[in-house]
């Protein structure tokens, strides 16, 4: 009985499959999506990450990488891309890093039409620094600093970063995916692939937001993470391409 290997344990670009992320975390699933696309396209990108749980995956990946100050990955990526215009440049940030701490960095980078791909792993919580509320925490979501759920009267409303960036003229591609099911993961993979292809074509600033599960930060059982993501986050933000060049 002969058989063929369809999927290897870990992506080739990951040096070790061991990591310290919590059970049911969506970050490593999303990171696999990114590494699979990089491998498919046979790229040698520079990866610039912010601060968050995903940073330990960056350290384990076999890519040229740099950890930047909180929220400043787009600024560092601007420098790298301008010095190495033919090298694919990817930034990797969480929602706390990008939307709460470094919102102006990403907006200005998009407005300047910088030729790199920005990736956002959005789980609506500051996972790495204790699990408090971020600017993308959805209404009603429980975090360590909104134990009764996010209340608009007290905490305000979440920011829809994809919608904001789609309005900016310099942004060529803006999309939002998620990792709550195998079908959605495949769809997100196509978005990341399209963003990187557009960067190689020199289309402009490209952005993909990936909604990920954080059962620890959300106070839900790990098995209910994908369902919660769908009910709370996808309902609020939506999924799909918000801006794409024709063709």
């Amino acid at each position: 009985m002969s058989s063929q290997l369809v999927v290897e344990f870990k992506p080739k670009l990951l040096q070790s499959s061991e990591h310290e992320l919590c059970p049911g975390c969506g970050h490593s699933v999303a990171f696999r999506v990114v590494l699979d696309v990089v491998e498919e396209l046979d790229l040698k990108p520079v990866l610039l990450a912010g601060h968050g749980c995903y940073t330990q995956l960056m350290v384990q990946s076999d890519l040229d990488s740099l950890q930047c100050l909180h929220g400043r990955a787009p600024a560092a990526a601007t420098g790298v891309k301008r010095m190495l215009p033919t090298t694919p440049v990817i930034t990797l940030q969480g929602d706390g890093d990008m939307v709460t701490e470094g919102l102006h960095e990403i907006l200005h980078a998009a407005a300047r039409g910088e030729q790199f791909t920005a990736l956002l792993f959005n789980n609506g919580v500051f996972g790495d620094t204790g699990g408090h509320l971020t600017a993308t925490t959805v209404v009603g979501q429980r975090t360590k600093t909104s134990l009764e759920g996010r209340d608009p009267a007290l905490h305000g409303y979440p920011l829809n970063i994809g919608q904001l960036l789609a309005q900016v003229e310099g942004a060529a591609y803006v999309a939002r995916g998620a990792v709550n099911s195998a079908g959605m993961i495949a769809r997100t993979q196509r978005m990341v692939r399209r963003a990187l292809e557009l960067q190689l074509e020199g289309a402009g600033f490209t952005f993909v937001e990936i909604l990920t599960m954080c059962p620890t930060g959300w106070f839900v059982p790990t098995s209910e993470g994908p369902e919660y993501l769908e009910d709370a986050m996808i309902t609020t933000f939506g999924i799909g391409e918000l801006k794409a060049p024709p063709g």
Binding site: M1, S2, S3, Q4, L5, V6, V7, E8, F9, K10, L14, S17, E18, H19, L21, C22, P23, G24, C25, G26, H27, S28, V29, R32, V179, S181, A182, I185, A186, P215, P221, T222, S223, G225, P226
Partner: protein, 112 residues
């Protein structure tokens, strides 16, 4: 007069199986995501057995279609998916050789 019945041996039921997975039991953190993702529903979580780190882990039963959904949703890179060139009939129940038990501590010692 009663008609004598021919004693028949019950035939063990089989399940068409198109692929298999190798499960890296020691890497699992027991999050249950693969159980819901598995389209043919052939993965089940152990209830009374745990890996070296104390987590429950998935077990494979016959009927895998090599759809790779488990590998895609797994946060801990536990699954390796294989597809058979021709589908086979496997006896219903657990697939014993799916589990891969590696000695984590020994591997760490060798690495350091």
């Amino acid at each position: 007069m009663t008609v004598p019945t021919v004693p028949t041996r019950p035939i063990a039921p089989t399940v068409p199986t198109r692929g298999t997975v190798k499960i890296d039991v020691e890497a699992c953190k027991g999050c249950d995501l693969c159980i819901d993702a598995c389209r043919p529903g052939v993965l089940t979580m152990t209830t009374d057995r745990f890996n070296q780190r104390g987590y429950r882990f998935p077990e494979l039963r016959a009927g895998c279609t090599a759809c790779r959904a488990c590998a895609q949703v797994c946060p801990d890179f536990v699954f390796q998916v294989w597809k058979f060139d021709t589908p086979v009939e496997l006896p219903e129940g657990p697939v014993p050789d799916a589990a891969l038990h590696r000695d984590v501590e020994r591997q760490r010692e060798q690495r350091s």
